[in-house]
Point group: C2
Chain length 194, copies 2
DNA sequence: GAAAACGGAAACCGATCGGTTTACTGTGTG
DNA sequence: CACACAGTAAACCGATCGGTTTCCGTTTTC
């Protein structure tokens, strides 16, 4: 399984998994061993462990985004597309071994907002907010900027709940997002100017 | 300042601060040095570092609760009492050096829901939800159990936002809680049966 | 086929990890 | 006075930390 990809890919994959599962304090030795890569190679591919943290987070961004957000070919209503994010989060939690949003979790562990990993986390969260914002504009929401932020907060709040409770969410995220969108004038099946 | 309290109190104080500021991976040596307590004393006061993590979290619970929740003497409406929590969170973030809810943060770092520290975190979060629930019942909310959970999620979502953005929240938590309570039939100045 | 680059295994560095132990200094208490 | 107790300082333990270096085999490149 491992020797097929390049050392860089193997490292990014192993780092993404182990930093998430064990936290950013896992040792470089364990990381390299899991990736089947020597420390020498690692340190000539990445300047430091901190850079590897940031790069592994960034490299998993697109896949994580695809996992949560419906694609452009999904032509359901903006409201349903937004709720899809929360339903997929629900499934992710229910599938077990969910340890919270990797980006928020890493930012929490790093403590330092200027750490390159924290910068990546900030960027990813903004992308999620941007997705919500696009859909809310399509739905003709009154204040899409505020509601997009609120939906992101609900997403992270549901994530926090899943972590501290270590139990399935039971649809509470989608229910909350739904209630909030109702309050913001985004109703079922509604499109702007239609 | 430090030698006045007992070694146990000094340790719990230093642990509460350093585990929050630097994460639970801070070393026992640094902890004892900050507390002015020898490692020998520490290890005969606490079975292990893990136990110290849990005990320090638990010992700060009441103060943190008092910091966020209005006291019983505050006779404003349940809705206003609930919003007070989010306003105080806002102030906490604005005052700087906010690194997220200590309980959620520790649970995230520990990764293990059976860790004694995670158990304390779960208990504290339940207490916050219980506070919301009591106020919602007083206000005659339709589904107080669900809304109490949703408010807790908004609290933790706002906390996550503060961490990843490293900026003031600007009242977004209270605004979201407000919108959600409106949707749940909890309006300004409203008391049940009055 | 020679040379250069790639990359893994492992030793090595000083520092720190969680935890134990020894030695010593107070501070009462009989 | 003697004794026990509480507590600090510091050495000590094996393991691991992030990071560097040496060695050597394999692959690519001309």
């Amino acid at each position: 399984m491992s020797t097929s990809a390049t050392p860089r890919e193997r490292l990014l994959d192993a780092a993404g998994e182990l930093f998430y599962r064990d936290g950013v304090n896992i040792g470089v030795d364990a990381l390299c061993k899991a990736a089947g890569v020597s420390k020498k190679s690692m340190y000539q591919l990445f300047r430091s462990k901190d850079e590897l943290i940031a790069e592994s987070l960034a490299s998993r961004g697109p896949a994580y985004q695809t996992l949560l957000q419906p694609g452009a070919e999904d032509d359901r209503s903006p409201r349903e597309r937004i709720l899809t994010v929360f339903e997929r989060q629900d499934e992710l939690v229910a599938s077990g071994n969910y340890l919270g949003c990797p980006y928020v979790g890493t930012a929490v562990e790093l403590k330092n907002p200027e750490h390159p990993g924290s910068v990546v986390a900030r960027h990813f969260k903004q992308q999620l907010t941007d997705f919500f914002h696009r859909e809310l504009v399509k739905a003709g929401a009154e204040d899409p900027s505020t509601v997009a932020i609120q939906l992101t907060m609900i997403f992270d709040g549901a994530s926090a709940r899943a972590v501290v409770r270590a139990q399935p969410l039971g649809g509470i995220g989608a229910a909350t997002a739904s209630a909030l969108m109702n309050a913001a004038g985004v109703h079922a099946g509604e499109f702007a100017l239609s």
